[in-house]
Amino acid sequence: MEILVCVKRVPDTAENEIEVNSDGTGIETDDLVYSVNEWDNYAVEEAIQIRDDVGGSVTVVSVGDEESEEVVRREMAMGADSGLLLSDDAFESSDGKGVATILKGAVDKGNYDLILTGAQADDGAAQVGGMLAAMLDLPYASLVNSIEVLDDKKLKIGREVEGGNQEMSEIELPCVLSIQTGINEPRYVGIRGIRKVAAIDIPEYGTGDLGLSAESVGESGAKVKRLDYFVPELGEGAEMLEGSTEEIVEKLIELLKAKGGIK
């Protein structure tokens, strides 16, 4: 099975402090560290496991600047067979549809049976996978937490739905799936693994290579634009209990008793 996995380089939220920058145009990037979007990493691991099972190859693609190459390379160190970088100044400030348009350009250059994205990324929009599927007119499923290859034409997939339940469906290939965390246990990639793939060439495609017009992507093509970043004013919030631990415990117990918290 020929699998394409879309990955994004994002700031590590856990290891960073995300703060609005001084003029509100974005977030403070000075001390940020970046890595591959966690959902995308699960998707790559899933793709590798499918390939190891039924054969084929895994290609990793990313829309970004030169620095996104490190993320593509890391996923290749994990076990993907090849990587692509879609990079062009014209791509900057693309909205979700723009990114999907760019990715479609890469999909059209290949012949993929299965396209995977992570369920969401740092902006929490969870949109690129669904948009890409619609542009390609392929069936789509989001929040996939299990994949079983039935044959070379069909997959049996599970989606994570409310209440911790799992919605099972059969989906025809080729299709697009967005992958939820927890679908598998991604393997470890160490410095050594990355050094091993350091010399492999990662082709870079721009608007010309992908046959895209500058108006369909980037700032000019964007219909959704961020105006600013801000931290909302905090409302009143909770009544903070003060005093020594003993005093707080006493007050709390009073409140709990009143509200039926202690049986």
Binding site: T13, I18, E19, V20, I27, G96, K97, D122, D123, G124, A126, Q127, G130, M131, A134, P139, Y140, S142, G158, R159, E160, E162, G163, G164, N165, Q166, E167, M168, S169, I171, E172, C175, G182, V224, K225, R226, L227, D228, Y229, F230, V231, P232, L234, G237, A238, E239, M240, L241, T245, I248, V249, L252, I253, L255, L256, K259, G260, G261, I262, K263
Partner: protein, 320 residues
């Protein structure tokens, strides 16, 4: 502004809370809006009547093909019945995430995900409010809605409109829905393992989050729960780490709970977690980070390390 539609999600014939939240959202989008509800499914007559109490008009699409929700089919249905350029509000739940991005492409409308507020329209530019980086920052987003918009609304971001003063008309649109075949066929829903405890039925919950730090520390929460006659629940990271079963998870991808008292111990208060708490319980938040978002929604807050505080609280309760 173009016509505003809202997509109604439901389970077992009962509309989801978002059905009423979208009424409010539509009004914030446009003060004099009179949104039309869209209900798509099978055996939905009673449901549509129910919804009609809150909407001036309800479009009903009755089809056997959607006896179970299927975003792929629904997408095609909506493309057929919705006028070009409409604005559709959809809850940003697992169905909305499945449906909307693709729908926006098919209808050539913009898509905005997980919206928590609106800040006015200027011509054909609508300003929405979203969050990024797991809720760490907020952003104003300008959207060109000239050709319509599909807007996913965060469940719980808007208050439900309980007035039910409308006596809406139910319009049957089941006729012209086009092709209902699909390449994604629903098989079944596998229920989450019930586990030993059903937290959805509990009145008092002692809930733990990342602040518990270690599986072995869960004991201090269990001790407190025992002292209070309560049960231990948790947020997603605890389940991901496999320290507790999925059935203990409170949140949009876990269980929905309606306790009287909710002890949020070492929980930061992400919206996905809070989305699982309904019924406005008395929330006590204990967290060593005074800036944790949970303190915004809690009734009472204590800035303390749960490792120190919980055992003290347990001892005091046991001495009562």
């Amino acid at each position: 502004m173009a016509n505003i539609f809202t997509y109604i999600t439901f389970k077992d014939g009962v509309p989801d809370d978002s059905a009423l939240e979208l009424v409010t959202a539509a009004k914030q989008l446009s003060a004099d809006a009179s949104p039309t509800a869209v209900v798509v499914g099978s055996g939905i007559d009673a449901l549509c009547n129910d919804v009609a109490a809150s909407y001036a008009e309800v479009w009903k699409v009755e089809t056997e093909a959607l006896s179970h929700a299927n975003a792929e089919i629904t997408r095609n249905v909506l493309k057929h019945i919705l006028p070009q350029g409409s604005i559709l509000l959809v809850p940003h739940d697992t169905f909305g995430m499945d449906l909307s991005p693709g729908l926006s492409i098919k209808m050539d409308a913009v898509f905005v995900a997980d919206t928590i507020g609106f800040e006015g329209t200027d011509g054909s530019t609508l300003t929405c409010i979203r969050q990024e980086y797991g809720g760490a920052v907020s952003t104003h987003v300008a959207c060109d809605i000239a050709n319509g918009a599909i807007i996913n609304i965060r469940p719980g971001a808007f208050q439900p409109d309980e007035t039910k003063a409308a006596s809406g008309q139910v319009v049957d649109k089941s006729g012209d829905i086009g092709d209902v075949s699909t390449k994604r066929v629903y098989l079944e829903t596998v229920a989450a393992e019930v586990g030993d405890v059903d937290i959805t039925k509990e009145d008092v919950l002692v809930s733990i989050g990342r602040g518990i730090e270690d599986e072995d520390n869960i004991e201090i929460a269990e001790d407190l729960a025992k002292a209070m006659g309560a049960v231990v629940s948790c947020s997603r990271p605890i389940v991901d780490a496999k320290w507790l079963e999925k059935s203990r998870q409170v949140g949009t991808s876990g269980q929905t709970v309606k306790p009287k008292v909710y002890m949020a111990c070492g929980i930061s208060g992400s919206f996905q977690h809070l989305g699982g708490i309904k019924g406005n319980p008395f929330i006590v938040a204990i967290n060593k980070n005074p800036k944790a978002p949970i303190f915004q929604v809690a009734d009472v807050g204590i800035e303390a390390d749960i490792m120190d505080f919980l055992p003290e609280l347990t001892d005091a309760i046991n001495e009562l």
